[in-house]
Amino acid sequence: MSIDTAPKQSWWNRIAHPGQFVRWTQPLLWPLTAITVALFLVGLWFALFNSPQDYQMGDTVRIMYVHVPNAWLSQFVYGTMAVSALGTLVWRHPMADVSMKAAAPLGALFTALALFTGALWGRPTWGTFWEWDGRMTSTLVLLFIYLGIIALWRAFDDQLRAARIVAVFTLVGAINIPIIKFSVDWWSTLHQPASVFRADGPRMPPSILTPLMVMFAAFTFLFVVLQLKAMHTEIKRRRIATLQRRVAQGQPA
């Protein structure tokens, strides 16, 4: 019945050690930043200058280039958090705790931006900033879940103990998000006819698709860079907590 906690030396475990993780990913930061900036420049140039108006919405389609990537990222970031939560609970991977904690604020911001740009897009097309349609409402609920998780992280004083508990809640949230999405869609169709304008449109000509894809990539790379940087800071913060405890313990003992 004895449990073996000697670390196995596979690749997976080597980046488990905070110092190793920083050493491996530190050099990646600058090239990734360069790629992100390049992608943004190309994307913006395409989006603002080089893409046609939409036959139906005219120029407001340009907001989609900023709205859709954010909406997609809000789900993608929660996905990475759910995977990290599994990493924390199943494999007890220290970097999983750190990545889960670092991703939460980013996810929250991208979700908020998705709502912000969605509202600005809704105004000209539907006539109101806020429309209780299925997609926007479930994004709002997703934002509440993100803020709940951030509040949960901050409520714990011992971050090492907090990781597994927040991981459990993140997974419970991950299971419930599709259910929430389904129930909100069902609810919104029940209360008013399907919104006149379908967000992603029947088909997208390549001239609109390419800027969208580029902006997609730009935002995703932006998330990766910020996530890595936030993880490095979180590792330092944990190191500080350990040192402070050691100093505190150093005095009385």
Binding site: M1, S2, I3, T5, T242, R245, R246, P252, A253
Partner: protein
């Protein structure tokens, strides 16, 4: 309490065990082996990690490194009685109700509730609400919980806390009986535990981490 052997021969073994809280090692590279019929006393100043070690052995806290286990035990049989500082007694329930609850929850293979209460000196207080018990009496009720369900390994954190003089003697007798039945005890305490056979006792000094 008959002296017959109740538990199979077991040994609590630990190698290079270091445990702590929040990533801070309080005690490191502990090696000990407690065979059946033996008692391990944990000595050390406050904050030396006695309670943390007990909670680690009780599988409540994960060890930082090293491993420990009970050899010779089958997996599913519950093996551990943990008796911490807090007595887990509900003041609004009567003494008997409290004990009966734990007897059912932990498996009623020990003595009857009434016999256990008598053994710890609370025989006459069965129907009293536990809220009216004094600290020492509540501690005795917590000790009675160890008697109503038979488990080989006892993890006692300051068992003699709040107990009077004959309370200390009671703890010694309970441990004696348990060891005679082939059980094992790991006790963190500052007071001397008087056992009948001195050779049954091992002592582990927990000091500051180097």
């Amino acid at each position: 309490m008959t002296g017959r052997q109740v538990f199979p021969p077991l040994t609590l073994r630990a190698e290079g065990l270091s445990c702590g809280r929040g990533g801070m090692a309080l005690s490191q590279d502990l090696v000990f082996s407690v065979p059946s019929g033996q008692c391990l006393l944990l000595r050390g100043a406050n904050g030396a990690g006695k309670s943390t070690l007990l909670l680690t052995l009780a599988r409540i806290i994960r060890p930082l490194s090293g491993s420990f286990g009970i050899d010779g035990a089958d997996e599913d049989m519950p093996l551990i009685h943990y008796c911490g500082h807090r007595n887990a007694i509900k003041p609004r329930l009567s003494v008997c109700e409290n004990l009966d609850f734990w007897r059912t929850m932990n498996g009623a293979n020990g003595v009857s509730s009434q016999a256990a209460l008598a053994r710890v000196g609370l025989g006459h207080l069965g129907d009293l609400d536990a809220g009216f018990l004094s600290a020492g009496q509540t501690r005795r009720l917590a000790l009675a919980r160890l008697l109503v369900s038979l488990r080989p390994l006892w993890l006692l954190d300051e068992p003699t806390a709040a107990l009077d003089v004959d309370g200390h003697a009671l703890v010694g007798q309970l441990i004696d009986t348990h060891l005679a039945m082939g059980g094992m005890v790991v006790a963190a305490t500052h007071d001397p535990i008087s056992l009948s056979k001195a050779e049954q006792v091992q002592t582990l000094q927990l000091g500051a981490v180097s």
